[in-house]
Symmetry: C2
Subunit: 382 residues, 2 copies
C-alpha cells in the first residue's frame, strides 16, 4: 500500500534519498478511519493484542507517567538485565530498541549500503524491505513453498547472489506458518560465510514449544529479534530487542539513538516480562481465538491456514482481486483486516486473534463481505 506525496526534488538530499519511492509499508487504521469518516468497530488488521498488556504493566506505566520528565536510561539496563537472566546470556548480547521495526532499521544501516545483496521471501515482512531499499540495498526474493517461507531456497539464493542478509520470520508473517526449531537450526548452520541470518521471532511467544532453536550468542551467523508488541500486548509502547553475538550487538551502540527509548515503555516492559501468569493467560486466549477464526472460516466455506501466531490467514478461495474486495467489504462493515501483498499469498486475508466481542463482529461481517465481494468481482476459482 502506498501514500502519495508530491515528488521532492531537492539538491540537499543525498542521491539515494532523492530517488526513494514515496511508498510506505503499511497505512495505519487511523488513516483509513479518517478517509472513511467512520471508526472501525473491530481492529483486526495489525496483529495487536486486544487482550491487552499485563495489569502489572499497565499499573507500572500509569505510575511512570508523572516521571516522564526524566529521559529513559540510555542503556535500558534493568530491562536488558531481566532479559539476559531470562535467556541466560550476557547483557552485552542484547540491545533494546523501539520495536523490531526500529531495530531492523539500525541493523540494515549497519550492514547494507548501495547495492548490497539481501535475500527475503516474496511477500514477507514489507518493513524489512522498506529499510533495505532505504539504505540502497538490492532485494532478491524467493517464493513461499506451500505458504511457508522456504529455508533451503533462501539459503541457496543467498549463496547465489552473495547476500549480506537473509530475512526469515518464524513464525511467519503474513501467513502464520511456522518451521520447527530443527529446521531453523539447520538454516543457521548453512548460512554462507559473511552472511547474517535475520531471524524475526516477533510471534515466537505464541508458537508453543519446539519452534525456537536454542539461543547461542557465540554464533555470529544469526541475530534474533523479539518484541513486546505481540504476546505482551504493548505495540503502542514500542519495545523490541535483538539478541546476537556481542560484537554485532555492540555495533548497534555506535549508531543508535541512545536516548530514544520511552521511559514509560522501559518500565512497562519490565513489569510485563515479570508477569508470566498474564502471558500464559494471553496464550490461552489467543489459542481460543484461533479456533474461533478457524471455525468462522469454515462456516463461510473458506480454508484457514493453521497458525502459530496471534492471527489467522484465511484463503478466500480466489485471487488477490477477490481478497481485496473482501477486505474492502469488511472495512465497510467496520472490520479492519489486512492481506498479503504478493501473489499467490494475496488470495488470503489476515485476521488478528481478538476477544470474543471482535470475533463475533467478524463472524457477522464476513458472510456479508463475501457476498459483496462476489457481487462486485465474481469469484474466480483459484
Amino acid at each position: 500500500m502506498s501514500k502519495d506525496h508530491a515528488p521532492a526534488p531537492d539538491t540537499r538530499l543525498t542521491p539515494l534519498a532523492a530517488r526513494l519511492p514515496a511508498t510506505v509499508p503499511f497505512v495505519g487504521p487511523e488513516t483509513q478511519e479518517r478517509q472513511t469518516g467512520t471508526p472501525f468497530k473491530a481492529r483486526l488488521g495489525a496483529n495487536e493484542s486486544g487482550f491487552g498488556p499485563s495489569p502489572d504493566a499497565i499499573r507500572a506505566m500509569r505510575n511512570a507517567a508523572k516521571d516522564c520528565w526524566m529521559y529513559g536510561d540510555p542503556e535500558s539496563h534493568d530491562l536488558r538485565a531481566a532479559l539476559a537472566a531470562k535467556f541466560d546470556i550476557g547483557m552485552e548480547e542484547i540491545v533494546v530498541g523501539p520495536g523490531i521495526d526500529g531495530l531492523l532499521e539500525t541493523l540494515v544501516r549497519l550492514t547494507v549500503t548501495e547495492g548490497t545483496p539481501v535475500v527475503t521471501s516474496a511477500g514477507a515482512y514489507p518493513t524489512f524491505n522498506y529499510h533495505v531499499t532505504g539504505y540502497g540495498g538490492t532485494l532478491h526474493t524467493v517464493n513461499y513453498t506451500a505458504d511457508h517461507e522456504d529455508p533451503d531456497h533462501l539459503i541457496a539464493k543467498a549463496r547465489e547472489v552473495g547476500a549480506r542478509l537473509i530475512f526469515i520470520a518464524n513464525p511467519d508473517n503474513p501467513m502464520g506458518t511456522c518451521h520447527t526449531a530443527a529446521t531453523i537450526q539447520h538454516m543457521i548452520q548453512t548460512v554462507p560465510e559473511g552472511c547474517l541470518l535475520v531471524l524475526d521471532e516477533a510471534y515466537i511467544d505464541l508458537a508453543g514449544d519446539g519452534f525456537a532453536p536454542p539461543i547461542n550468542t557465540h554464533d555470529k551467523r544469526v541475530i534474533r529479534l523479539r518484541t513486546f508488541s505481540k504476546a505482551y500486548g504493548m505495540a503502542g509502547a514500542r519495545v523490541g530487542y535483538a539478541i546476537g553475538h556481542a560484537a554485532l550487538i555492540s555495533a548497534f551502540d555506535r549508531v543508535r539513538n541512545h536516548f530514544g527509548m520511552s521511559r514509560i515503555a522501559q518500565i512497562g516492559a519490565l513489569a510485563a516480562l515479570e508477569d508470566t501468569d498474564w502471558l500464559a493467560k494471553v496464550r490461552a486466549q489467543v489459542e481460543q481465538a484461533r479456533e474461533d477464526l478457524y471455525e468462522i472460516a469454515e462456516d463461510n466455506g473458506l480454508l484457514a491456514i493453521p497458525s502459530a501466531t496471534n492471527f489467522v490467514t484465511i484463503d478466500c478461495g480466489a485471487d488477490g482481486v477477490f481478497a481485496k474486495a473482501v477486505l474492502d467489504a469488511l472495512r465497510d462493515e467496520g472490520v479492519f483486516v489486512r492481506m498479503p501483498m504478493v501473489a499467490p499469498l494475496d488470495r488470503c486475508i489476515r485476521v488478528t486473534c481478538a476477544p470474543p466481542r471482535e470475533m463475533k463482529l467478524l463472524a457477522r461481517a464476513l458472510p456479508k463481505a463475501l457476498a459483496a465481494a462476489r457481487e462486485q468481482v465474481g469469484e474466480t476459482p483459484s
Copy 2:
C-alpha cells in the same frame, strides 16, 4: 564521554559501520549511579524539567496506558494537526519523531553521505556530530565567540567548505546564550545555495519573546526542530517535531520508522500542548530557578552566563580540568551536572533549573565541591 566496547571486527558490517568509534554523546545518570552505587539526590545534568509535565498530560498518559496494545497512529495526525494550527502552517510541513535526537538522525540520513561537508560550532550539540559521523559526513567547526555560537562564521565556513548542513541551536546548548530573531533571520537569508540550516530550537519555549524568527515554510533553506522534552517536561516520552518546506518534510516519510512513535507519548504531547497555563507556570518557575542559580554562582564567587534556557552554565573560573574536578566533586555530593566538552567552553559546568529542593541541594554542595576541586587540582586563573 565515551563507553568502551570491544572492537567489533565483522565482515558483515559496512566499511563505515566497522570503522565508527565506540563513543557515545552522553553517558546517562543511571549509568553513573550504577558505577558509584549511589543514586543522585539532585538530577541537574540533562536539562530535564523537574517541574514535570502538565497534570493534563500526566492524566492523558495514565489513561492511555491500558490502550498501548494499539500501535500509535503512524501519521501522528492529531498532534500534527494541533501543531499546524498553533503555527498556522500546513500539516505537510510538520513531521513528528522520537525527540529531536531521532529527527536529527533522520535528517542527517537524508542529506549526508560519506564525505559530505557539515558545519557546526566546536563544543555544540554532540548528538548532531554523532549522527553526522555515523553517516560518514565530514565535520567542520568554527569557534564560539564570547560564549555565543557565531552565525557569520558558521555561514562563512559553510561557504568555504561547500557544506550541505549548518547546525545552530538557538538558544544554544551548552552555553545557554541566545541570538535575536533578527540575527537568526539574517543567518537564514545568507545560507549558501544547496545548503540547509538546521535550527535546533529545543529551548525556544523558555527564551521569551523576540528570539524565534517568523516561521516561513516556503523557505527551503531552513528546518526547525522543537521538542516536548524541555519546557513541556516530557523528555522520557520522546516527542519532537521538525518544521520545514513540505518537499523536505515529505522526504522524512520515505525513510522514517512509521510505527515508531509511542501511542502514550502522542496522546500526552497533545494534552501538554493544550495546557498553555502549565507552560506559563513552568516558564515562571524556570525564570525563578535561573535567578537562584545566578545567586548560587555569585555566592561562590563564580560567574553565571545569562541563560535563555532551563539551565545555567557557570564559569568555574579556571580550565577544563578544574571544571571536571568540580563536576566530579558534585557527583560525590549526590548532584548530577554536565559540562561542555571543548575548550574554552569546558571551563564551565552546566546546571539544570529545578525546583527549590534541588536548588538548595546544589547551594549546599557547590562550596564543598569547589573546595574539593581546589584541593585536588588547584585553581588555575583562566
